[in-house]
Amino acid sequence: MKIVITGTGGQGVVFLTRLITTASSLEGKHAVSTETHGMAQRGASIISFIKIGNYLSPLIRRTTASCAFCLKESESAHATAYLMPGSQLFLDSEKTSFKEDLTTYITKNKISMTSISATDKAKELGNPRGGNLFLLGFALTRYTGHALPSLDSLCAAANTLSPAKFRDLNVQLIKLGYETGSRLNGER
């Protein structure tokens, strides 16, 4: 099972990667991942990979991932290129205005897309940089595959990885995303 995360430097791509990797390990799964450091972090497009299962290399081949998180609309094509047909894309955005080729590709490959303005929701909680965690919690309520760890494991991992100052807030962000998703599911 393979997960892709795209965004730009400073959005929390690396933290989200570590969170999912750690939570998967807490569930006893073998997880490998890779992240971007150095100059590429200075506000540029970045991508992280997580592979859960019997893998040695953290790199993902295009068209083979089952799930992607995209923390910025402009990074959607970058994430989609790694997705397999029938997979799921979770996007932090209110509206989506994709280029024609991307819309066509997503439709043709039956990639299901869920978008929510996660950063705006996180801002309301007082953390403008918490969109990544809200999106993750939200995604759990729509995700139909087997790659993502459970809410409990993710919260436990957030407890371990967050600096003390942000620990409660981070767990709260994941839970709020989850609750929002559950509520909207109920309304549907």
Binding site: G9, T22, T36, A40, S57, T63, A81, D101, A157
Partner: protein, 650 residues
């Protein structure tokens, strides 16, 4: 941001691994030591980044002296050793040195005094340390000495895609190429064994994806060596003159023969999988390329015989050539260059870069390796072929990296360009390389070349004695100390004339905030003497030395003009020190909220091109600029940038 180690209980995952495909094979094939470490209940398991695993390997080997100069992707190796040192109270001497050559010498000296030591750097850092490296391989070591040089195929964060393994062949030094964080830890320990068994320095060469990739790693007990420093005088070795050097060279060649023999017959990091499958195609690979090949073939359920090599130099020729002669074709998959491939003597059935089956430039991404494997299997008429890849034809727009909002470098570059738009702007390696976005950086060669290229250009124009353009060089604080000082001295004592702006943000920012010679502290927190840039510049003989706060745009512009006049009138160098702490580390306390007056902005894009702040954006109709408050650090620099005075205090 620095949490490269997450402690979790992953024992169940190792059991899962044991009963799953490829890994089972490795555990059965690799040596008993690894088997035991992976499976005994007493070992701890952690998710470690490759760099952290190497650091762990160092302290499990009893490394007593560790030095480094920061550089992506190597930086965290040293930082992790420092973290272990602090957390576990280890008695290790650690030092961020001024440059890689110095770091190399400090660690090497500890090794010839009998201690186990290590130095880490990125691959281009090895160029800086190469003078010492070439010689130290001849003189050898007493205590184990491990050099970690991290390659950057891609390149993601470097000026070249050079291969440390090729450098190792040139320098006649053993080199080990880890494929996973677990193997990186084990190979680091093995490097010490080889180093002490043959009294020779050993290189461990990871690549970016290993350095910054995380995986479950089993760790074991620390070794505490605490050897007394004891330098035994032996002038024929440590101060060898050319005639003794000849003897040392012969000794080195003898060592390499013995090491090659050990790698051939007694090194479990080299192994063959799927040996009994009869196919016309075999694969030889090393490092992360092995991990990639293994994942692709496993996923496609297409087992091919693979010879996995960890000891790339000296190459275990018997092992390799016994393998190659079994197949009609053998594909060599390695990166970033040909190191195994060129050592194979009979290459008539070898496919690789020489035959165009592996691209000569760029990272071996899974798509690339897949296509190489598919093509080789097709050409050798393997029974089970990999299907053609259908890669998406999507247009992907990548956002380029930019200087952060509030960065003092942005203000400096704006002022320099505003003062002398017709200038030539040689620059250097660091965050400020991103001044290219603002058209204020014209050359980036290597560390220190901001000054030497400026010097050379000044001399080339001066020779013609007409139309000499303003030459305004920039260099960062750490880069100035690293390789700038000899260049400045040379420029001054040869009568060169140009303006040099030293961009002082008081930290090594790009690699994650390491101290500089101005900081007065070391990585482990201890206080050390510090030196000011101005005193060093004056000691190089420069008379014009002025400091400025780059946020003061108008004053800065005037100062650049004044410095340029000094250069023209006196034919001497003028140095400006632009001092403002990194905005990420120490944001300005004076805040100036800004806004754009809509009626005044005509959408000329001047601020977007030459101020290039991420907080300045075009509105949705694309005719006016607005300030994105969530990104703005309220530095107020853009107020002075707008030619129409449309950006004002809010």
């Amino acid at each position: 941001m620095h949490h490269s180690e997450f402690i979790v209980n992953i024992a169940p995952s190792l059991i899962f691994l044991f009963f799953s495909g490829v890994f089972r094979h490795i555990i059965w094939t690799m040596n008993d030591r690894i088997k035991l470490q992976s499976l005994t209940a007493t070992t701890q398991h952690k998710i470690l980044m490759g760099n952290s695993a190497i650091a762990r390997g160092l302290i499990e080997s009893g490394c007593e002296v560790m030095t480094a100069y920061p550089g992506t992707p190597s930086t965290e190796i040293f930082e992790e050793v420092v973290r272990y040192k602090k957390e576990l109270g280890l008695n290790i001497y650690t030092e961020w040195s001024i440059n890689e050559k110095i770091a190399f010498d400090i660690a090497y000296a500890a090794a010839i005094a009998g201690k186990r030591s290590a130095v880490s750097m990125k691959q281009v850092g090895l160029n800086v340390a190469s003078d010492s490296l070439m010689s130290a391989v001849y003189t050898g070591t007493v205590g184990g000495f491990v050099v970690i040089s991290c390659d950057d195929p891609g390149p993601h964060s470097s000026q070249t895609e050079q291969d440390t393994r090729l450098f190792s062949i040139f320098a006649k030094i053993p080199v080990l190429d880890p494929s996973t964080p677990q193997e990186a830890l084990e190979l680091t320990k093995y490097a010490y064994e080889i180093s002490e068994r043959y009294n020779i320095p050993v290189i461990v060469r990871p690549v970016t994806r290993l350095c910054h990739g995380s995986a479950p790693v089993s760790i074991s007990e620390l070794a505490i060596t605490n050897r007394e420093a004891k330098f035994k005088k032996d002038p024929a070795r440590w101060a060898a003159t050319p005639s003794f050097r000849l003897k040392l060279h012969k000794e080195l060649e003898d060592k390499l023969i013995k090491i090659r023999e050990e790698f051939n017959s007694n090194c479990n990091f080299n192994f063959i999988i799927n040996e009994n499958i009869k196919l016309p195609l075999g694969i030889i690979c090393s490092g992360v390329a092995y991990a990639t090949v293994s994942d692709i073939l496993n996923e496609a359920d297409t087992p091919l015989p693979i010879l996995k090599i960890a000891t790339v130099h000296p190459l275990p020729l018997k092992l390799v050539e016994d393998f190659t002669c079994k197949f009609s074709k053998v594909l060599v998959v390695e990166e970033p260059d040909r190191a195994i491939e060129i050592q194979i003597r009979d290459r008539r059935n070898v496919l690789g870069r020489e035959t165009g089956h592996i691209p000569s430039a760029g990272e071996l991404l899974p798509e690339v390796v897949y296509e190489s494997l598919r093509r080789a299997a097709e050409e050798t008429k393997c029974e089970k072929l990999l299907p053609q890849q259908q890669l998406p034809e999507l247009s992907i727009d990548f956002v380029r990296p930019t200087l952060c909002p509030g960065c003092g470098h942005r203000a400096s570059f704006f002022s320099i360009r505003k003062a002398k738009a017709n200038g030539i702007f040689p620059s250097d390696i660091g965050c400020y390389t991103l001044g290219i976005n603002m058209k204020s950086v014209d050359t980036v060669l290597d560390m220190g070349a901001g000054i030497t290229i400026a010097d050379g250009l000044a001399k080339a124009y001066a020779k013609d004695n007409s139309n000499i353009p303003p030459i305004i060089a920039t260099i960062g604080d750490s880069t100035f100390f690293h390789a700038g000082i000899p260049g400045l001295l040379n420029a001054h004592v040869t009568g060169s004339a140009f303006v040099l702006v030293i961009l002082d943000n008081s930290i090594v920012a790009m690699t994650g905030f390491q101290p500089t010679a101005e900081s007065g502290r070391q990585a482990d927190g201890r206080e050390v003497p510090k030196v000011s840039i101005e005193s060093v510049v004056r000691a190089c003989g420069i008379e014009f030395v002025e400091e400025i706060d780059p946020y003061k745009i108008n004053d800065f512009v005037e100062l650049v003009k004044k410095a340029h006049n000094h250069v023209k009138l006196n034919s001497k160098i003028a140095v400006i020190v632009a001092r403002r702490p990194c905005a990420l580390l120490e944001p300005s306390t004076e805040r100036l909220r800004v806004k754009v007056i809509g009626e005044k902005c005509n959408g000329c894009e001047y601020c977007l091109k030459y101020c290039e702040c991420p907080a300045l954006k075009f509105n949705s109709s694309g005719d006016k600029v607005f300030v994105e408050d969530s990104l703005c650090t309220e530095c107020g620099v853009c107020i002075d940038c707008c030619p129409l005075e449309a950006i004002v205090e809010a």
